[in-house]
Amino acid sequence: MYLAIKEILHEKLRYGLIIGMISLIIFLIYVMTSVAIGLAGENTQAIDGWNVQSITMDKSVNLNLSQSSVQKSDIPSNMFAKENSVIGQIPTIVRSKGRKTISSMFFGINQNQFLYKNLAVQSGGKFTKSNAVVVDSSFHDNGYQLGDKIKINDYKKEFTIVGFSNNQKFNVAPALYGTLSAWRDLHGYPSTFAGSAVLSKKNSLKLKSSNYKSYSIQTFINKLPGYSAENSTFIFMIVFLMIISLILIAVFLYILTIQSLPVYAVLRAQGIPAKKLSYSVFSQSVILILAGIFFGAILTAILNTVMPQGIPVKYDFPLLLSVSLGILIMGLIGAFIPAQKISHVDPIQGIGG
C-alpha cells in the first residue's frame, strides 16, 4: 500500500488521468444503473403499490391485461375478502382544455375492495362517484389541478380529478383510478363484465371457469410490454461498461508495471518479497477504483442537481453499492495480470553492466 500511494502521489498527472477516465466510466455506470432502475420503477410503480402476490386473468391473452376480461358470473360470490380485488384496465388518452394531452392507463377498482382502501392519495380525496378519478401526480406536474374536468378517450362524459396519488405509473404511463362502472363505460362493456383481472394477496386464486389462470405478479411484470427487453438492454450495457473498466484498469496497470519492471527487478534483487510487490499493484488498483468511485459519485450528485424533470432516474444506494463492489472486483481482476508479471520478474534484470 505504501509504494502504491507514494507512486500515485508522485505521478499525479499520470494517475490523475487514469482516475479521471475510471471516474467517467463509473459515473456512466451509476447513471445507467439509476436510469435503468428509474425506468423499471416507472413500469411497475403502480403494481408495487398494489402489494399483491398474484393476478388471475384470461389465460388466452398472453398476460396482456388490456386484452383480458373476467365475467361477473365466473367470480365466486364468497371470494371477496381483504385479499382479493377486481381490477379493470384500459389504455387511455386524457385531454383537458388548456392542458397537455397525456397518454395514460385507466384502472377501474371496486370501492369495497382492498385496492381502493389501500389507494394512497397525497392531495384531494378518493373518488366516490363514477365520474371522478384519482390520478398520478405526474398529471399535476403537467399542470392538471384538482377539480379539472377531463375527457378520456372518445367517451362523451367528462371526469373530474378529485385526488392525486404519488408513484402510480404502469408501463411508464401515469395511472388514473376510477370506478369499475366507468371502466365498463370506457370499454363499452355490458354490466356482465366484472373487470380485466382479479388481484390477490395470495399466491393463486381459483375462479369458476377454467378460462382463467393465476400468475405470480413477477411473471406478470416480466411480460409487461418492453419491460424485459428494456432491463436486459440496460444490464447488458452496465455489464459491458464494467468489462471496459476491467480492461482499462488491466491495460493501464500493465503498461505502468512494464515501465517499472527494472525498479521491481532491483527491489527483488534486494530481497523484497515478490508478494509484497504484487500486493502493491493490487493496492494501486484498489486506490484507483476507490478514487474513481468517489469522483464518479460526485459527478453523479452534480448531474442529479441539473437533471431535467421527467428523466426517470432513481438512485438505489444498496444497488449502487453493489455495483461499486462489482467494479472493485473487476479492478482486482484487472490487476491480476500485472501482479503476476511482477511476481515473476527476474531480479537479474536489475543488474546493469
Binding site: Y2, L267, I348, I351, G352
Partner: protein, 232 residues
C-alpha cells in the same frame, strides 16, 4: 568462517553452439572485515559472478555458501530473506525507487525489514560520510549521478548487511568522492567487520582493497593479497 564462499562455480548460458561459458571453475571466498576488489574488463563475467555470490542467480554447477547457508538447498523465499537480511547490493543502475524521496528509500526498508537495520546514530554517520545528509527530501530524479550512487550505497548499508556486493560503486563519482567512498568501504570492512566485494573497473579502489582478484574470460585469479590477517 567465510561470509561468502564459492566452490567450483561454473555458469553457462545457452545450449549447443550458442552456449557461453561465463564462469569457469571459480573458487572464491571473502571473510568478515575484508574488502575484496574484483577487477576485469567488460564481458569478463564480473556481474554474473556478483549475482551468483549474492544469490540472485544460480550457478550451472558448484556451491555457493553465504553465512553458512548453502544456496543450492534454499528455495526462492529463503533466498529473498537472505538477500534482504544479509546482503547489501549496490547496483549500477536503477538503484533507487524513482517515486520515493531519499529519506523514504530508507523508511521503505523499515517497512519490509522491520528489525536489525542500522541505528539512527550510525545511519547519520553513513549519511554524513557519504555527504548526502542534505538530500533527504529529494527524489532520485533530482540527484546527480554521483549523489544517486552515494544514496544507493547508503541504502545498501542501511540493512546492516553481513556482506556488501557492489557493482561499479564509484562509476559516477569524482576523484575526491571515489577516495572517500573507498575509505568508507575500507573502514566499514575493518571497523564494522563487514565483508565487502567491489566489482569494478576503477583502479583507484584497488588501493583500499585487502585482496584483489582479476576475472578474465570467466576465470578468477588472485592478483594481490595485501594482508594475510583476514584472508583465509
Amino acid at each position: 568462517m567465510a561470509v561468502v564462499e564459492l566452490k567450483n562455480i561454473n555458469k553457462k548460458f545457452g545450449t549447443g553452439d550458442a552456449e557461453v561459458h561465463v564462469l569457469k571453475d571459480v573458487n572464491f571466498q571473502v571473510n568478515p572485515g575484508q574488502l575484496v576488489a574484483v577487477v576485469g574488463p567488460s564481458g569478463s563475467g564480473k556481474s554474473t559472478f556478483l549475482t551468483i555470490a549474492g544469490g540472485i542467480q544460480t550457478p550451472t554447477s558448484g556451491d555457493v555458501i553465504v553465512e553458512g547457508n548453502d544456496l543450492n538447498k534454499m528455495n526462492l523465499k529463503q533466498r529473498d530473506h537472505l538477500r534482504l537480511n544479509k546482503v547489501g547490493f549496490v547496483l549500477q543502475s536503477y538503484n533507487l525507487i524513482p517515486f520515493l524521496k531519499v529519506k523514504e528509500q530508507f523508511s521503505f526498508v523499515d517497512r519490509v525489514k522491520k528489525t536489525k537495520n542500522v541505528d539512527k546514530k550510525h545511519f547519520q554517520e553513513i549519511l554524513s560520510q557519504l555527504g548526502i545528509s542534505n538530500l533527504m527530501e529529494k527524489y532520485p530524479a533530482q540527484l546527480s549521478g554521483g549523489q544517486t550512487q552515494r544514496v544507493a550505497i547508503a541504502r545498501a548499508l542501511y540493512v546492516d548487511p553481513a556482506i556488501v556486493l557492489a557493482d561499479e560503486p564509484t562509476a559516477a563519482l569524482d576523484s575526491q568522492k571515489v577516495m572517500e567512498v573507498g575509505a568508507m568501504f575500507r573502514d566499514l570492512a575493518h571497523n564494522n567487520n563487514k565483508a565487502i566485494v567491489l566489482v569494478t573497473h576503477d583502479e583507484r579502489l584497488e588501493d583500499f582493497a585487502d585482496v584483489i582478484y582479476q576475472i578474465l574470460d570467466g576465470k578468477l585469479s588472485l592478483l594481490e593479497k595485501k594482508s594475510d590477517k583476514k584472508v583465509a
